[in-house]
């Protein structure tokens, strides 16, 4: 039976020299999803990814991929056999040519896809006989992505896949990713601090801040749940502590009271009626606003 969650972590922690990079992270990445792992620089995204792929050992807690323990050497090899990975720095073996690194990588994967290899080498216009170190930043990203896509992997783990690229290159990379996923049965877990690209391709999202997930779920559901409710009063807006569940933030500014709710607007509106506002307005919230608000609450 296929696992409902491709990646699961429970109270995952990593401490480096007294600094806790990941603090009790709980994640569940559904099979078949495009999962955006959103967070500021230094939030713990890369450390989490490295723990999932066996590059970093967790201090405590549990991480599993495909139901296999990520911190055991044997199962970690099996996880990597089924996973395509692109690191933040597009870490590749510089001394090889494009052709050599393709053949080198292919030799590790029984399910290597020559058809995809041909397709992506052509689509990304990668010069076969050029050394990897001579490739541009964009060329390097495309090569790293091609090497990850051709593995016949069921999971793609991408750490800031578009960092350092210009807008047209970002678009090209994201398009390639989306069209690949559309044709293959796979899960994509990608970290980013670029909200726009997460919003563009992800269907699930987790926001991580200071090493733990402050928010996670289906993107559409999050968008449905989050509401900004604006209450306008005759005089100065009253001081009010809302009892409704999901109130993230309350701002008073003159006659206006603004409430950000992560559980819809109804409960807040019910409670606000007792204050007799002269007008109420409920507005949807963008992912950027959700991100900024949840991270700001943490601050």
């Amino acid at each position: 039976m296929a696992e409902p969650f491709i990646i699961e972590t429970a109270d995952l922690r990593k401490r480096y020299d007294g600094v806790e990079a990941v603090r009790g992270l709980n994640l569940q990445v559904p099979a078949g999803s495009i999962y955006g792992f959103l967070g500021r620089n230094g939030a713990g995204k890369t450390t989490t990814i490295k723990m999932l792929l066996g590059m970093v050992r967790p201090t405590s807690g549990r991480a599993s991929v495909f139901g296999l323990a990520a911190d055991a050497q044997e199962t970690s090899v099996e996880i990597r056999r089924r996973t395509g990975f692109v690191s933040e720095n597009k870490d590749l073996y510089d001394a090889m040519t494009v052709d050599e690194i393709v053949r080198f990588t292919a030799s590790f994967y029984p399910g290597w896809r020559p058809d995809l290899q041909q397709r992506y080498l052509r689509a990304f216009e990668l010069p076969l006989h050029q050394k990897v170190k001579q490739l541009s930043r964009g060329g390097r990203t495309k090569l790293a992505l091609a090497l990850a896509l051709c593995r016949g992997a069921r999971l793609l783990v991408l750490d800031e896949p578009t960092s350092g690229l210009d807008p047209s290159m970002i678009e090209e990379v994201l398009q390639a990713l989306v069209s690949h996923v559309a044709g293959e049965e796979m899960t994509v877990f990608f970290s980013s601090h670029q909200i726009a690209e997460v919003e563009q391709i992800a269907d699930h999202v987790a926001i991580i801040d200071r090493g733990h997930a402050v928010l996670s779920g289906e993107l559409d559901t999050l968008r449905e749940r989050f509401r900004r409710i604006q209450l306008v009063f005759d005089g100065d807006a009253p001081q009010m502590a809302f009892r409704a569940a999901g109130v993230v933030r309350v701002d008073r500014n003159g006659r206006v009271l603004t409430v950000l709710s992560s559980a819809g607007a109804d409960a807040v509106l019910d409670e606000a009626r007792a204050l007799s506002p002269v007008s109420t307005d409920v507005a949807p919230v963008t992912l950027k606003e959700i991100f900024l608000e949840t991270v700001a609450v943490e601050d």
């Binding site: 590059m55 090889m96 994967y109």
Partner: protein, 252 residues
């Protein structure tokens, strides 16, 4: 393909070492007639110090071809250059990839760290074996060119002694390369250790790996120094094992 990558990582160090050691072996054999003309001069060196004594002993050894080859070749070039190249071959690897980077790329592949280290160690040791044995084998091959003979068996025994003792420096460099992120600290630490053991060898010859490296016991007694070979091999194996433990515990 891991083997191929490992070869790409180390090939220049290996090829430069092979070229230098081979040229040195050629020089030692082909310059034999010229150097022999200097032997009478060396015999006249006065002085009771260790240095004067070593020169006179060297001159004495050079009176026969076997002694000349040992004192001018096995006791010198391979132990000095060999130590350097065994150490160079042991440095680098997964943690501190000096040529080409790619540690996260390597770690993302479905190969265990033990396998990565094992292939790296095996490639380096194979290259070191070639450096230790092949230039030595040129000596019996070239000796007829200067109207001399040298036994292939002796060259092989000396090559094996060189390999076993040099493997100590290789393994130490391999171990330190799993601890430090750069190539320089492992290199410098091992070369310092070699320097200290060379000084130690002046005081207690049996405790220095250079005594085994030069094959002195074999040269003087004709018997293969099995205890030294076994001890050095065991110590090297222990350091390679320690490297695998260190690598397994490491965060990248």
């Amino acid at each position: 393909m891991l083997w191929h990558k490992s070869w790409l990582d180390t090939r220049w160090r290996f090829l430069i070492g092979l070229a230098l050691l081979t040229m040195s072996a050629f020089g030692i054999v082909l310059f034999h007639p010229d150097l022999m003309q200097l032997v009478p001069l060396a015999s006249t060196v006065q002085g009771n110090g260790a240095f004067g004594r070593q020169i006179r002993e060297g001159a004495e050894l050079m009176r026969d071809y076997r002694g000349y080859i040992w004192s001018q070749w096995f006791q010198q070039t391979p132990t000095q250059l060999g130590t350097l190249f065994a150490t160079l071959l042991g440095t680098g690897g997964l943690v501190s990839q000096p040529f080409g980077g790619g540690e996260l790329f390597m770690l993302s592949l479905p190969a265990s760290r033990n396998r990565l280290l094992g292939v790296r160690a095996a490639t380096g040791l194979a290259e070191w074996l070639v450096l230790a044995v092949v230039p030595s084998l040129f000596i019996p091959l070239l000796s007829p060119a200067v109207d001399q003979t040298y036994s292939v068996g002796s060259a092989l025994v000396h090559g094996v002694c060189l390999f076993a003792a040099g493997a100590l420096f290789f393994s130490m460099a391999l171990l330190l390369s799993t601890i430090f992120d750069d190539v320089w600290r492992p290199l410098l630490i091992v070369l310092c250790a070699a320097f200290v053991s060379a000084i130690l060898g002046q005081v207690a010859r049996g405790l220095s790996p250079f005594t085994l490296m030069s094959g002195e016991v074999y040269f003087r007694t004709g018997s293969v120094p099995w205890s030294g070979l076994i001890t050095a091999s065991a110590a090297s194996a222990a350091m390679v094992y320690a490297a695998s433990v260190s690598l397994a515990r490491r965060d990248f």
